[in-house]
Symmetry: D2
Subunit: 307 residues, 4 copies
């Protein structure tokens, strides 16, 4: 597949907003897992584009840079999400099919996937690194335990995955009646249609797609898929995308870490419990650590006796 | 408009899931503001439908009722939103145009609005109750102050709104060259097209629509629009819809109040500040108030020394 | 999986609109392929609900039944799609994973899929009927040829698919270290996590989901997936859904066949070519076959000399 | 509002794909109606980006330019819409509120609208050009007749619209208790909140927003809103956007004109009628005018006797 190579790119002149740090890695493959990657192929907007869109809403004139940061924090904290939708990114992703199946559940994105009805899939399948082969978690129905498998069991796992993957591909070629160079394997046979032969492949085979999404929905994707409860194999993609966000829109990145990734969401019962554990006299001691708005909000949440 | 009357309804037999308490108010107008209303005209699913969909995902057999409640709490707390999308509701809403303009920003819904290109709008406009006419808030750029206007200024406000609304409607009729009974006002004139005449009306005129939305997106709508920062006039609709949710899916309602409406979302800085205000010895005292999972989570958030 | 059984259903009383013919098959499994099915588990609205929503837009009073049909035809022909969004359906679907991968590309739907991170997949895989095993089409890069494979090649295909599927499942159990009754296969081993073991399965394994969609988007799905260019295995699902539409909203069904399925969309060049092939004198002969609007439209398209 | 000025723009260097003709008009206001405009503020992708995304799907290598055009035609004709979603555009639009109300019904777009809760609206309202003031159409319930109003009636219409608009604004200022320079009108009064005062304005007042949409959905918007049945005032915006498309993605533009704007969609009955009007012998005469695929398709549609 020719799309895999680093893209021949030239410098153009544009009047559009640019993100200097993202430009530096544009089209570069960021390798993930054993054969996967992401590479950014296009983007629209930067931190300033968000500020600009927000100021259309608020009707204010342009302010200096320090205020841009504050405005982005304000938007993030109060979940004013529409300005973040004003930035868009397009990435080329190569990923195992079982990861693609989780990924595609995020509906607010545009996708062009490589079609195995049109083309023959390459012989590339995912084998986990031994460090990531683990037992079923006992208390998390959808997770893995840490490091409790014997070296032998890990090796046996890899042997099974590898031999099944290879055998399925060998039979895929038999069903197509084509070898890797596109020649007939057996002159007396026709081979079956590509759309049917592919069903013999296992879920660890790689596929690839172009994926385009706005920044708000990208952050939502990352917050769900970079979470410790997400399956390891999709988490590495989400974390790589988080690194991209850091280059692309650095203010948004900081704000996202503060108000989403490291935030805590407490239920009513937890708020009530916490109230009983806090000495209200200590609010004043926190004045040095918090800005006035955040302090006032804390008091509002945790002042004694809520109805 | 004939749609406004309470709908002639009959009892039918169905094998579908029903919500007994919502059936009782089906088609009934719930009056809001001076001329507005909502009335539920159809719905799909109930608390059990959410549980059933979730159990397709988890592949578990049906459990007893007490567990349904726990599962719904689990889904709500962990933002597993797809099962809530399995319920759907359709409401007929009559609302001022300026409220409709805010409402329509919620894109994940289906809408059929009354068209003033096809039909002539009724002479119905919104006048705020004196208790809700207030000055611009000083510290909230998008809000109202509480009760600081003189009786005279409130009266003057109502006089202006009323006389302008009436005059605009009178001119609307002149532009159409039609009186309320559909007769020509002036035999020597044609009248202009409805789609053009309507532009002379003010934003407090009422429109109406059918609005259909899934439960997940309805809760999102309510959480934004029943918020104290939302404009009063849309808040009354959001609160009425929250009452509908309580009748329709009572377990979801309770869960939504616990994990959304009365929840607190803290930034990383607030978490850090709170850590310094808490005596860790008191965690054990809260065992009676919190279930074990929520207590463990609190400890995880607020245990001393985050990296 | 308990969800597969026909659902225990009772008759309830409701004031909601019902679709009598759809009620008759509610919860019944409609078998598709070798192990798949669809079964309708809930619905909202009927032909009248569409008419009612349209009349909110047009502000007209309720008319008699014969006019309902005309109005639905009008909406379908002129692609006034919002009234069709006022109906909603929920189906439980069991389908091979490679079909699920095509299906999920339709984004405007709600989905709860069985998760192989939580549960162990059943040993059920798709084997095509010999009549549907065909060679790659020569002139359609994504299709199958008709009937050109020898009986031996068909048999060889089935042997490969069957033996690979079975072997992958056997190894899936080894990876989990569990037999079909849930007992350990080997007491000295832990077994690996379900989320990882599943990647050894082939794309013809069955999954299942609850799928909820509005009527407009369902018709769009059907028009794309019941098309002769769609892969046979998804086409059978689309055709079964078309049968459901016929029971649910019979007027919409007729209208859909007339204005979508059997419609012809012509490019500008094709219109120009057709003009030269038509004798304008024959328009009048068609008056008996077409209603006046459709005839006028034909004249407009094919009158000599377009600019 | 500072956003209205032409944006101070600099030339940057980028590795992204560019559209040279669109760059030329970037940030330039294109005036529409009496006070409105659109101006493109950002874009992503060009004709080649669509081709590139399509070729990810089809797995083919890059071909020469002449084939790009053919591929775009193929995608447009067969409604393979996802590659067109790979381009995105952002426009700043100033438009009357009644136009905004129609526009916003297109849900698959991102919007940041100027908020009259935060800011005071300018005194700018739409008055139609005399040439576009017309009577209600007799046979089109949602349209205007051509030129049948007397000069006097047109003048009277403008007088009403103008005087009402001005009076409503004067009262808007009274309600706010602020003059144009931001000073109190009456020292003894507070003025009411902005969010409430605005409801006194008429629907012809201008608002503005940033609007971001992908190319596929933009074309859908244009096909509905540049249609002769659309209201004149939104049509001028749709037509201006079509001109933008022509600059941005010229191949797509040509294809869109051929397969959408000048296409004809025929019902089954119309196809049947047309069959009887065509002399099949004439198909061969059209070989010079149509490419082979389009000719074959015509034969398939119009060959005698369909079942």
């Amino acid at each position: 597949m020719t799309q895999e190579g680093n893209f021949p790119h030239e410098e153009h002149s544009t009047k559009r907003a640019i993100s200097p740090d993202l430009e530096k890695i544009l089209y570069n493959k960021i390798p993930l897992l054993d054969h996967g990657f992401i590479r950014v192929v296009d983007y629209m907007g930067n931190d300033s584009a968000i500020v600009q869109a927000a100021r259309v809403s608020y009707g204010q004139g342009t302010k200096q840079v320090s205020q841009d940061k504050g405005l982005i924090n304000y938007l993030m904290k109060h979940r004013h999400t529409t300005p973040f939708e004003m930035c868009e990114i397009k990435v080329h992703v190569k990923l195992p099919i079982f990861v693609a199946r989780q990924w595609i559940r995020h509906r607010t994105a545009n996708v062009n996937e490589h079609s195995a009805r049109y083309s023959i899939l390459d012989k590339e399948f995912y084998l986990p690194d031994p460090a990531h082969i683990s037992a079923q978690s006992k208390n998390n129905k959808q997770g893995r335990e840490q490091n409790i498998l014997s070296t032998q069991e890990i090796k046996a796992t890899l042997d099974i995955l590898k031999s099944n993957s290879e055998q399925c591909y060998e039979n895929y070629e038999k069903l197509l009646n084509l070898d890797q160079t596109g020649h007939l394997l057996d002159e007396t046979k026709q081979g079956i249609a590509r759309e049917l032969a592919r069903i013999n492949l296992t879920l660890n085979y790689y596929t690839q797609w172009y994926w385009k999404i706005d920044l708000h929905n990208l952050l939502h994707f990352i917050s769900l898929r970079a979470d410790p409860h997400a399956q390891y194999e999709i988490r590495v993609y989400a974390e790589a995308l988080l690194d991209v966000v850091k280059l692309w829109v650095p203010y948004v990145y900081e704000s996202f870490m503060e108000y989403r990734i490291h935030a805590a969401s407490l239920s009513r019962s937890q708020v009530e419990a916490l109230k009983k554990m806090i000495d209200p006299a200590k609010f004043s001691e926190q004045e040095a650590n918090l800005n006035i708005r955040e302090l006032e909000e804390l008091k509002r949440f945790f002042a004694k006796k809520q109805e």
